[in-house]
């Protein structure tokens, strides 16, 4: 069955954010084990610049989501799957928002002002506090790993629909119309 696509800006923002989140998570995971040196400083700067971009984009995206109707889902699936889908989507939004905010808070608490691509500094959200900084750091890592688990679930679900159910679900988020219509009811 032909699936109604999301609007082009929504599709674009979805894939751009997907790429940015994977890159930011990878840099963060690698840099945290680097010794203090220029490489670590450069890596975390890029990590923060990408993270702040994600924060800005997710705000745009939440505004889009609250002001637009999601295209109708022309797929019959069990109620629990629909509920899991809705839960996963909102959990993703909440994490995409809260992880950069916690990261920003953590950077402020560690005494490092966040800037944006070296162009301008962002305000410090809290004053320097070592203990708070360490707590926020743990929370940032925990939420980020939680996000990656949900992303994994999200991807597996999309792949299941694409290759097992063959219901064209992925075409909702694709730039091209799906040729995968066979399995649709």
């Amino acid at each position: 069955m032909e699936q109604t696509r999301y609007t082009t800006p929504a599709i674009l923002i979805h894939w751009v954010m997907a790429a940015l989140i994977i890159v930011a998570w990878t840099i963060g995971t690698l840099a945290v084990d680097m010794p203090l040196g220029p490489d670590r400083i450069v890596s975390f700067s890029w990590h923060k610049w990408i993270g702040i971009t994600v924060l800005f984009l997710v705000l745009l995206r939440i505004v889009w989501r609250l002001t637009h109707r999601v295209p109708e889902l022309n797929i019959a699936m069990p109620k629990w799957q629909e509920r899991t889908m809705a839960f996963t989507h909102w959990a993703l939004y909440i994490l995409m928002f809260s992880i950069p905010v916690v990261g920003w808070l953590m950077s402020s608490a560690h005494g490092y002002t966040v800037n944006y691509f070296g162009l301008f500094e962002l305000p410090d959200l809290v004053s320097k506090d070592k203990v708070l900084g360490e707590q926020l750091e743990d929370l940032h890592a925990l939420l980020a790993d939680g996000l990656m688990i949900l992303v994994g679930l999200h991807v597996l679900a999309a792949l299941k629909h694409q290759f097992i159910d063959k219901d064209g679900l992925l075409s909702r988020m694709s730039f091209h119309k799906s040729s995968n219509k066979k399995g649709a009811i």
């Binding site: 203090l36 220029p38 400083i41 700067s45 560690h110 490092y112 002002t113 800037n115 500094e121 070592k130």
Partner: protein
């Protein structure tokens, strides 16, 4: 006032007017008020300013507002009192690539000459030694006499690589800027 002390006052007044002894208000200032004085700097990491300072310093300063050009300064800064960023950064700053505090525990500024520019402004030239490297330094300084205190303020810029600060891969100035703005706020008490 007794007759003898009156005579003494007249005598000392004539001596002052005659220029034999300096006027009383020409107080000498030399005691550094450590609690009120500050040496701070800003380092730029990938576009973010990181403020820091040295909380321990001492030295000898002689200053007479009537003869500012005769002022002399010899400041000793304890590098281990470096304070900026987190614990890991402070430890790194004390290490070999940066200040190497084991071999060079102090930095030192010695004035050579003082120019009186008028309007409470001075130009102090001297030598600043950090990590065993002495470099000439000229500072624009403003001062204000407030009762028993004189307050000096100066802002200048150092280039960290001039002093070999940040060796090895730290020499990369795109991660840590070479330019380091420094601010000195020095409060002296009268003797």
């Amino acid at each position: 006032m007794s007759r003898s002390s009156k005579a003494l006052a007249v005598l000392s007044a004539s001596l002052i007017l005659g220029g034999i002894i300096p006027a009383v208000n020409a107080a000498e200032f030399s005691a550094i008020d450590a609690a009120k004085s500050k040496i701070t700097f800003t380092t730029k990491l990938m576009g973010s300013n990181l403020n820091g300072g040295f909380s321990k310093f001492s030295g000898k300063v002689d200053f007479n507002p009537d003869q500012p050009e005769k002022a002399k300064a010899n400041l000793v800064i304890e590098i281990a009192s470096f304070n900026a960023g987190g614990d890991d950064l402070q430890e790194e700053a004390r290490g070999k690539d940066w200040f190497n505090t084991k071999s060079f525990p102090t930095a030192n500024f010695v004035s050579d000459s003082v120019k009186n520019l008028g309007n409470n402004r001075l130009e102090i030239a001297g030598k600043l030694s950090i990590k065993g490297k002495a470099m000439p330094l000229t500072m624009a300084v403003t001062y204000q006499v407030q009762g028993k205190q004189v307050i000096f303020d100066s802002s200048f810029q150092l280039l960290r690589l001039d002093y070999g600060l940040g060796a090895g891969n730290w020499a990369d100035t795109s991660a840590v800027a070479n330019e380091v703005p420094v601010k000195v706020h020095l409060v002296l008490n009268s003797n």
